[in-house]
């Protein structure tokens, strides 16, 4: 009988946490949908001009979406090689002593607060980029990508390293037994076997980059225009929400438009997660590992 009570307690706590998380989604929908009575979804997503406080107000968020896409793509180019690369180094090359020092160091990089990254980006990276590329201003998509990518590295690296450690030693020994050297073993046996863990690590690292607000607000420049190069200032979706939410009259059209941006961001990440999950699942089945 006691077993049933324990199972009940865990079920209640599990659904309580899910209820909170679903609460966020409900608030997101509730506050976002009113805008679509005024502005058609097509106009909203593909509109090229974002002038929410003028009259007549224009709610086109294509520049914001493209900015988020560029910045997130840039962040991936930074955090995947660095994050997974470091995890592989830690797993394959680092001796135990080295590992005991570097792994905590990387996790410390994870605990550096985002506002400190924004601060670092604003005060040090901005002038550096400005002189390097002779730009009118160092606040641009590249700056945001670098800082966001760097911020996501520890999450990717820690979880990828854990994933690599869960791969049974027998796989490695089997590969050596057929005469494969360490690099072949790593690339053809260990990485595929840890595939699901590594993809989860990348997804979580990516989600952190997409959802990041403060850093992006401080370093991305804030120009609501569709970027053509990495060196132009941009205004990602999260930056627009954070900057304008405090000032916008609560319950006004602009307030609902900002929530609609957050909703679209949520839906984009949702679709992205499903695709990533399918890829990693097909990847796992090909290897014959359970789901």
């Amino acid at each position: 009988m006691k077993e049933k009570i324990y199972k009940g307690i865990f079920a209640v706590l599990a659904f309580a946490s899910l209820a909170f998380l679903m609460g966020i989604v409900i608030v997101l929908f509730k506050e976002a949908l009113p805008i679509f009575q005024k502005v058609k979804i097509g106009e909203f997503i593909f509109g090229r001009y974002w002038y929410p406080t003028y009259s007549p107000a224009e709610f086109g968020i294509l520049p914001l979406i493209m900015a988020s896409v560029w910045v997130t793509f840039g962040a991936v180019l930074v955090c995947v090689p660095l994050g997974v690369g470091s995890a592989l180094y830690l797993h394959e090359l680092a001796g135990d002593k080295q590992r005991a020092i570097i792994k905590p160091l990387i996790e410390i990089l994870a605990s550096i607060p985002s506002v400190v990254y924004g601060f670092f980006g604003m005060v040090i990276l901005t002038p550096f980029l400005q002189d390097l590329f002779h730009l009118p201003t160092g606040l641009c998509a590249l700056n945001a990508s670098l800082v966001l990518g760097l911020m996501a590295v520890p999450t990717v690296c820690s979880l990828a390293d854990d994933a690599l450690n869960y791969v049974p030693k027998s796989f490695r020994e089997a590969s050596f037994a057929v005469g494969a050297n360490r690099w072949q073993t790593l690339t053809q046996v260990i990485i595929p076997a840890a595939g699901s863990g590594i993809s989860t690590a990348i997804i979580l690292g990516m989600s952190r980059a997409i959802g990041e607000t403060m850093t992006v607000l401080m370093v991305s420049g804030g120009a609501a225009v569709i970027p053509h190069t990495f060196l132009e200032p941009v205004r990602p979706m999260t930056a627009a929400i954070a900057a304008e939410m405090g000032e916008a009259p609560m319950g006004g059209l602009h307030y609902h438009a900002l929530f609609a941006i957050a909703l679209i961001l949520f839906l984009i990440t949702f679709v992205f997660n499903i695709v990533a999950e399918m890829i990693s699942r097909r990847f796992r089945i090909k290897l014959g590992l359970s789901g």
Binding site: W50, P136, P233
Partner: protein, 270 residues
């Protein structure tokens, strides 16, 4: 498992340390521009009246007004007048927001100190911000691309600048929209071809204030409305201010209070 339980009990102990005791308390919340004034005044006021407890929060004009309407704050700071939609909401909630002007704020147009341009007409400013002029050469300045810096379109400072200087026309879409006065000031100070606008309080040696229609932005010209781009700063209360809120606002309007306003770089009402 043992380790986790030990950590949890330790945390509970620290949380329980706080000792509750009561004094009259008001909450001042809202506009980021008014924040420095509210903070300094609260600090000095509390030094003079030990019983008072004033806590100051930012968040923006929209949050301040909304909290006043919801009753979660006693004074709602705002750098813009209340909007009709907010007024309707207040009425439905049985609140009657009253505006108390506590200071004036001149919005200065600033450029990089190395920029030779020292004065601009309102029309020139409008042409720059709407995109018709895009190189300093067209204004007799150095041959350099103009980098237009503006505030995000929902901030109170932008509201005033847009109405007074741009007659409501749209800022060019590739303008850098910064989230705060200080971000505008620091970007202008580091970008040779930049032009931006900040509250009087944020003008420092690292930027150059430009005369507008040949009027220099000073306390006197703003007060006398000769300087064309100036706006009032409000502290909204629910009906006539009363109790600690009244004492606080009266203190800010007193000569000592207005001196604090000037120290923070804004324009006193005397």
């Amino acid at each position: 498992m043992k380790v986790l339980s030990r950590v949890l009990t330790l945390a509970l102990v620290t949380l329980g340390l706080t000792i509750p005791c009561y004094a009259e308390k008001i909450v001042v919340e809202g506009s980021t521009t008014v924040l420095p004034i509210a903070q300094k005044a609260a600090e000095v006021f509390m030094n003079n009246n030990s019983g008072a407890d004033i806590s100051v929060r930012g968040g923006g004009s929209g949050v301040g007004i909304a909290s006043l309407i919801d009753g979660t704050c006693d004074i709602g700071n705002s750098s813009r007048s209340i909007k009709d939609s907010e007024l309707d909401k207040a009425v439905t909630n049985g609140r009657s927001p009253k505006a108390n002007v506590i200071a004036m704020d001149g919005i200065c147009v600033i450029v990089h100190p190395a920029n030779s341009i020292g004065a601009l007409t309102k029309k020139q400013i409008k042409d720059i911000y709407t995109g018709t002029i895009s190189n300093w050469k067209q204004l007799g300045g150095p041959d350099e691309k103009i980098v237009v810096i503006s505030r995000d379109s929902s901030s109170g400072t932008f509201e005033a600048f847009g109405a007074l200087a741009l007659d409501g026309s749209k800022v060019r879409s590739d303008a850098l929209l910064q989230a705060s006065n200080q971000a505008v000031a620091s970007t202008v100070s580091r970008t040779p071809g930049a032009i931006g606008y900040v509250g009087l309080g944020y003008v420092s040696s690292s930027v150059k204030a430009v005369d507008v229609d040949a009027v220099k932005a000073t306390k006197e010209t703003v007060l006398s409305n000769k300087y064309p781009i100036g706006r009032p700063l409000f502290m909204y209360t629910n009906g006539e201010p009363k109790g600690l809120a009244k004492q606080f606002i009266d203190f800010i309007l007193s000569s000592e209070g207005q001196k604090l306003v000037e120290e923070e770089g804004f324009v006193g009402l005397k």
